[in-house]
């Protein structure tokens, strides 16, 4: 069971582990948005955004409701926003190292990347 719980958490983190999906969640943190609106804000391909939304849906991080032609998305549980908030704090606490990490982007650590 302990292990199942960890797999669950890992799955959620996996869903969070993409800049586009983080952007989506951050935009949705300010309120409900249609898929099209998100696409606009992100400035990305329709199909790509839709796929990332599918990932977030699969892990139930977002919910959607259909209104006529459009599909509106929102974050299911504000805890997720809190997690992202914590990450912001973490980022600021380690700004310097973070910048370095972003700069290199290619440290030759085995198995890592």
């Amino acid at each position: 069971m302990q292990d199942a719980l960890r797999r669950f958490k890992a799955d959620i983190f996996q869903a969070l582990a993409h800049p586009t999906r983080i952007a989506i969640l951050e935009f949705l943190g300010e309120g409900e948005l249609s898929a099209g609106a998100l696409m606009e804000k992100l400035g990305m391909e329709q199909a790509n955004v839709s796929q990332h939304l599918a990932v977030l849906r699969a892990k139930q991080l977002v919910v959607n409701r259909k209104v006529g032609n459009q599909v509106f998305y929102s974050v299911r549980d504000p805890i997720i926003n809190k997690v992202l908030q914590l990450m912001r704090r973490y980022f600021h606490a380690h700004l310097k190292e973070a910048m370095d990490m972003l700069g290199e982007m290619e440290k030759p650590v085995a198995g890592a990347k």
Copy 2:
């Protein structure tokens, strides 16, 4: 910049996105441990644990100090523990769906899984 920030966050989440690494961080949450002790607790191959530690090190989620023969690890910033705590709350809030998700483990969603 906004985008760099999101890449940074995504990278951290990526590092968290594995059950073994979550287990490692949770064990370390209770206090410093040697690589060997972790290996014991996890019941996994030495090389495998070492690789996961390398990932956590690369993202600076853990720090290590060498004492003679051994290497002791600890969590660098307690914010990470808070994140894991929040995930526990999230898990409990959605226990039922979580169980379902773990049960299936193979929903055919495009781009996902």
